[in-house]
Symmetry: C2
Subunit: 373 residues, 2 copies
Amino acid sequence: MPRLTAVYRIRGEAASIEARAQALAVEQSVEMPVAAIADAGVLRDIVGRVETIAELVPGQFEVRIGLAVATTGPEPGQLLNMLFGNSSIHDDITLHDAELPDAVVQGFGGPRRGLEGLRARCGAVGRAMSCSALKPQGLAPDALGAIAARLGDGGIDFVKDDHGLADQAYSPFARRVAAVAAALRRSGARTCYVPSLSGNLDDMRRQVRLARDEGIDAVLVAPMIAGLANFHALVREFPGVGFMTHPAMAGAARIAPALLLGKLLRMLGADATVFPNHGGRFGYTPETCRAIADAARGPLAGLKPCVPVPAGGMTPERVPEMLDFYGRDTMLLIGGGLLQARERLAEAAAAFTRQVKAGQVKAGPAQAGQIAG
Amino acid sequence: MPRLTAVYRIRGEAASIEARAQALAVEQSVEMPVAAIADAGVLRDIVGRVETIAELVPGQFEVRIGLAVATTGPEPGQLLNMLFGNSSIHDDITLHDAELPDAVVQGFGGPRRGLEGLRARCGAVGRAMSCSALKPQGLAPDALGAIAARLGDGGIDFVKDDHGLADQAYSPFARRVAAVAAALRRSGARTCYVPSLSGNLDDMRRQVRLARDEGIDAVLVAPMIAGLANFHALVREFPGVGFMTHPAMAGAARIAPALLLGKLLRMLGADATVFPNHGGRFGYTPETCRAIADAARGPLAGLKPCVPVPAGGMTPERVPEMLDFYGRDTMLLIGGGLLQARERLAEAAAAFTRQVKAGQVKAGPAQAGQIAG
């Protein structure tokens, strides 16, 4: 029976860590005293198994536990449940990683469009992509449309909703997408608008269709608010749509960001994953950010790469450093950092665009029609 | 414009807490530099406002922030997003409470059946209710049915699925509910089976209907896995069904348990809320447990009370103490603690039932036909 390996980090003591690890293996599988289980098949195939325990630094242990793939469905919410559902309640345990069989990963399918799909969509050849945001919430749809048009004038590749924009009275989803799409059409910008989905699964389906009717083919979702299964359902149901994910409510999950925002969301279909860059409003370290980007883009059972979208208080001055850190296979997101230019928003956006293009690399010999150089 | 008050607890320093609180108010509202906002309406009505800052103990502050109700939808996922979406990423902040206008709370509606509905369903007059669980996952439906029948023979009021039971190959939902319902019918027990829902919203709707076809009218959901909006959609769509909630993935949320497992889940429709009791497998304190029970049962904008279900490693020996702590308006959940009786499960269940009934109070003078006494 196939197993996956869940990797936990536990704050503990050498004298008790084996018992703790064993308790964790039971909690994330049969969740009852093993001595009370009579069924040989369950004992052999279902009960979690401690594989290794290693002390990383004094008092911090890495515990690898084999869990039965069969317990996970495989279904996204159930996978999360079996990896960490109950043990999320213990504040001395973090879910650090999950090593899943390739068949499971491929079964979920990963990004449908991925890095290359998003590049093709916005026409960004050999350079990073740029993204900004429509803020603040509370503005009426036409005002948000005007902001989008100015960002478009400045050449921004993607403009997403502030993740707080949902379906509120001051900017109902349907009116907002119509207004923003119209404003971008009038401006002639190539900019792709990425509206934010909210509500239950049916609400989100309706919103995707409304967006599609306006020629919009990428949407923003916060999977830890929507429920992973519902996020994945949308990905499967709308294969022509790009999915950008937002980390709202993901940060508190005590799941390593690289696993949650990188590997798992990519596996379930995120084409781009937004996360807070180091040195901004949030406290992720450079190491954490690099790990997220590696999980999003690196080899993973043949899945398409997911675009890392470092964000969270970034400013145009940081663009060269961010391009240096993340390379070109990224989307840089600057929201408030551009909007603080106020009436000079289009100029600020144009400056951001120039900096992103300054990192552009000429096409190599493989590109038809170009002189190698 | 109506406001709600979000109450956060922040680990910080006196010298910087005001700036921190102001940043939090901005993060959970407009999420951009306030100086860049030109719209007077947004500045007046939408930007979060720090109401008070109090130092609870040195280095731990309680910050009360007024957020615009309009930003929350009101929709369950968006409410969570605006209360804590981004700030969940800061590991020094906890969302401690949310004081919502009565109209918002009543709009969500609360438990449809509540404490009295569940009492009426299982016939528990003047006493606490009892609950056990079908474990371990991995057993075939008929084996789970046999366990249910023995628990029923022992007089258990409610038997829920282990929350790890979903729709896996060894016990597909449809076959499991049919097998367990049949086993309980054959045994003649009054026991109510509470199967566990999993998957996306459509999966869960299908499962509720399958359960109803078998005469089952209560289900178990983990709202932090399903997504709050989807949980609430089920509550609204199936008014005759009782909803028991499970805290899987709720524990890591860095949201005070009393708020999340008590107030919010009750508001969205939990008739019963499972949580880990103090002194069991998890680390909640007695104070936290009491706060959960108070939030579930106490006055809340006229909503029906939600039944607290203390669980997580409880044993029959603890029943008198738990009845003393929680009183009669509770449902005691003992899973593995009964199952470890193995072939003597029915006797162990009967002993649990006797202890719960020992806490029973005679009906008072108001009950027709009874002699007051």
